[in-house]
């Protein structure tokens, strides 16, 4: 049978970076094809070329056996190609409906079409069991829901070839499962699907074949049936990946953080956090599990001083955090950081780094006042030396501290943030989604760092939606749902079903 898509000798470079070199492989019609590789391996670039977003420097693409020149996204769309991008391509201040209509409005006036499209969307939602309100505005939606909108867009446009670039990075297990349900349905309908993911289990679960890329080249393409996670990991990073990292025995020290009766309401009086209370001790990792959007982010924001609680008490090393008597959180993160609380923010691009600063400048963000030299000015020699050491220790690539951090891959940006916060030698470390969108090799090294931190006696509060990650790191697990803590487990009691129930709001009974 004709392959649906065939790449022949695709090459693409960005300046000196060779993103794709002589990439050739074929994707069978009606199959689900996995694409894996480290961060920066060239997966997204290749797919962007297929989608007409970039143009290849050389090589050709065949669709159904015919050479096609795909110069723009419009042309790709016209050829039946759809893509769900790694970073959402949604207009935040518009409704789902408008986002779906954008680019395929079907006439100059929107009004006559709107009702029909809305009806069709509702029908699609019902058929594929997608929980999306077509009239909701994007910025009111959770990440998971936004992901569903992206899928919805593609279903609406009835793409025959669907590219999904890391669609599951921000989804919960349940959301992923229902996405896969939909993909299987697509497959039954004869659509071709290309799935990029860093989660090898997903590759095994759903794909028919898998292509592995490294350094812009294809390392191999294998049928999924005959491969294992270990094989894939080996092909991806060229070495063995250890999933269960060794750790020192659980031996918690004195209580470091004591949260009592914490409440948070938003401007409209909606309760975001209710009755949050827990204790965190030195030398332990407490993970907060839960579907994203259930108050974890808000809790981290409060503890790091980025946001004020409505009421409640938070004691750090026996003293209350200075929330009282403040009208806003302006400058509070500084006070809290000075107490010895470090914070790896969940949204690294928004909060964690200044994209237009160099890597070096980003390594002092938040600690800028601690690094003064003569006359209160920066001692850039010392800072650069420190930065070089840090980049070496945490294996930040490329090892050039003058580069704008925006040019680094997400994984490498994350390493810089983690290194910065670790180097501050905190008593308490707040960690939000540390490995989102990061490849397996990097995940391993990030996990190593966090465990080393724990072993050295730092108290760590970890928010993660990845149960795998929770299992790999946590000593104790708190589960949150609807702004409340619905349950607590020790790591020995780890049980996916039980946690799933708690995440869904089933109370500790």
């Amino acid at each position: 049978m004709q392959p649906a898509v065939e790449f022949r000798g695709i090459s693409k470079h960005f300046g000196a970076v060779k993103a794709n070199t002589d990439v050739s492989f074929a994707i069978a019609k009606g199959s689900i094809h996995g694409l894996v590789g480290e961060n920066g391996a060239g997966k997204s670039t290749l797919m962007s070329i297929l989608y007409g977003y970039y143009r290849a420097d050389g090589g050709e693409i065949l669709l159904d056996g015919q050479t096609r020149h795909i110069r723009t996204s419009q042309e790709a769309i016209a050829m039946g190609i759809g893509m769900v991008h790694q970073h959402f391509m949604l207009v935040e201040n518009m409704t789902v409906l408008d986002n779906v209509m954008l680019g395929s409005e079907g006439g100059f006036q929107l009004k006559p079409k709107r009702a029909a499209v809305e009806a069709k969307l509702r029908e699609i939602c019902a058929r594929y069991r997608l929980d999306v309100d077509p009239l909701a505005v994007i910025h009111d939606l959770s990440v998971g829901a936004q992901q569903r909108v992206e899928i919805l867009k593609q279903i609406y446009r009835s793409a025959n070839i669907l590219i999904l670039d890391e669609p599951t990075a921000v989804l919960t297990a349940q959301e992923t499962a229902s996405l896969f349900e939909i993909l299987r349905l697509f497959k039954e309908q004869g659509k071709t699907i290309i799935l990029i993911t860093h989660k090898l289990q997903e590759i095994l679960d759903i794909t028919d074949t898998v292509t592995v890329m490294r350094g812009g080249r294809v390392i191999g393409a294998v049928p999924t049936a005959g491969t294992t996670k270990e094989d894939l990991a080996n092909m991806m990073v060229g070495r063995q990946i250890i999933n269960n990292l060794p750790r020192a025995p659980y031996n918690p020290g004195a209580p470091v953080l004591h949260v009592q009766n914490l409440q948070l309401q938003d401007g409209q009086g909606v309760k975001l956090l209710a009755d949050i209370g827990f204790t965190l001790r030195a030398g332990e990792i407490v993970a907060i599990a839960g579907v994203s959007g259930n108050g974890q982010s808000e809790l981290m924001e409060i503890l790091s001083g980025m946001r004020l609680p409505s009421s409640g008490q938070v004691d750090f090393e026996g003293k209350a955090l200075p929330f009282a008597g403040r009208s806003d959180a302006d400058g509070l993160p500084r006070t809290i950081r000075d107490l010895g609380i470090a914070h790896i923010p969940e949204d690294r691009l928004r909060d964690g780094v200044v994209k237009n600063f160099s890597v070096m400048h980003n390594t002092i963000l938040g600690y800028q006042d601690k690094l003064k030299g003569r006359w209160g000015l920066f001692d850039f020699k010392a800072i650069a030396a420190r930065c070089a050491a840090l980049m070496k220790d945490f294996d930040v690539r490329p090892n050039n501290h003058d580069l704008r951090i925006g040019l680094l891959s997400g994984g490498n940006q994350q390493k810089v943030v983690i290194a910065r916060e670790v180097l501050a030698q905190p008593t308490l470390m707040l960690v939000g989604q540390p490995t989102r969108g990061v490849d397996i090799g990097t995940i391993e090294s990030i996990h190593r760092q966090l465990l080393a931190l724990r072993d050295s006696g730092v108290a760590i509060l970890l928010v993660s939606v990845e149960l795998e990650e929770v299992r790999a790191l946590a000593d104790r697990i708190l589960v949150m749902c609807g702004g409340r803590i619905t349950g607590e487990l020790k790591i020995e009691e780890f049980d996916t079903t039980r946690i799933g129930l708690l995440m869904g709001g089933m109370h500790k009974s």
Binding site: F14, S73, F88, M101, G103, Q109
Partner: protein, 323 residues
């Protein structure tokens, strides 16, 4: 001071007459900025189209030729801005300011070169745009209040005034209820999303800038061939900046921008009326202090009433397909 001293009627009519310059430019700015291109060059485009409109209207003795020529020049400048913003990916603020400054000089130099009247065009005389007299005005004119409203408040203005007011619902419709508007807003908010959805961002922005250029040209034409009957150097007198202010004030939304323009028009009219009048409490304010009334009111309204204004997210950043 009695209520009558306020001459509310006069203020309202004056508001209606003052506002179009700002409305046209404000709507132009709105289009440009909602598509992601900062348009601080409104002032320059107003000035250029005011000059060309007056010059051509005078030479051909036909206001419509003047308007058409002004439109052409304004489109040209808008295209230049678009070229800088979209193709060159240059700094849009710089482009706008450059256009403002260059036009301030060029209009004078050319006007002086052609007409030798100190950067002024001759009075265009009968080539001015006529005022519309609504049907039945004569009959109803003497009916108290209603007659005045019909003959003076609603009627008796230039066609451009009606165009300006009609523009507000039109812009609203275009922006929110058409493909053009949907794509335009998407380009201003998240051009990457628009591009991925198959919208040609560059083309959309070019077209938008041209439409904005057309709208802006009416502002200039209104100034020179409706309000004044000739062109005078720097006669835009900051109208472009005020329009921009009204737009930011109106949170980049047509109706509120329109209200912002009306507010400026209204307070400019009030300011005229209270000059030299004994006011309660403060007494008679000196003229120079009264001049600040519209501006002080704007600041107060902005600080007191309005929620934070939120600019289109992609405003001012060129669309580049990489990080």
């Amino acid at each position: 001071m009695t209520f009558d001293d306020l001459h509310l009627g006069s203020i309202l009519v004056s508001t209606v007459r003052n506002a179009p310059v700002l409305i046209f430019a404000g709507m132009a700015g709105l289009f440009a900025e909602r598509s992601g291109v900062i348009d601080i060059g409104l002032e320059g485009k107003i000035l250029a189209s005011a000059f060309v409109s007056a010059a051509v209207a005078y030479i051909t003795q036909n206001p419509w030729n003047g308007i058409a020529a002004g439109m052409l020049v304004s489109i040209l400048l808008a295209t230049l801005q678009a070229y800088v913003a979209i193709t060159q990916k240059g700094n849009q603020l710089v482009a706008g300011i450059a256009i403002n400054i260059a036009m301030s000089g060029l209009t004078f130099v050319v006007a002086q070169y052609i007409f030798q009247q100190g950067g002024r065009t001759p009075d265009i005389g009968s080539a001015r745009l006529f005022d519309v007299v609504l049907p039945g005005t004569a009959a109803i004119r003497d009916v108290p209040f209603i007659g005045w409203v019909y003959a003076h408040l609603i009627g008796g203005h230039s066609v451009l005034v009606y165009l300006a007011f009609a523009l507000v619902p039109l812009v609203h419709w275009l922006l929110y209820h058409t493909r053009f508007g949907l794509r335009l807003r998407a380009c201003g908010e998240n051009p990457h999303a628009a591009d991925a959805a198959g919208v040609n961002v560059a083309r959309q922005r070019y077209i938008t800038m041209i439409v904005a250029g057309v709208l802006c040209s009416f502002s200039g034409a209104y100034l020179s061939i409706v309000q004044s009957g000739f062109f005078l150097r720097d006669m835009s007198a900051g109208a472009g900046y005020l329009a921009l202010t009204a737009m930011v004030f109106g949170n980049w939304r047509p109706l509120y921008t329109f209200l912002g323009c009306l507010m400026f028009g209204f307070f400019a009219a009030v300011q005229i009326q209270i000059e030299g009048v004994d006011l309660p409490v403060v007494g008679r304010l000196p003229g120079s202090l009264i001049q600040m009334v519209p501006y002080v009111v704007t600041v107060i309204v902005l600080a007191g009433l309005m929620a934070k204004s939120v600019a289109p997210k992609a405003l001012g950043t060129p669309f580049v397909k990489s990080r």
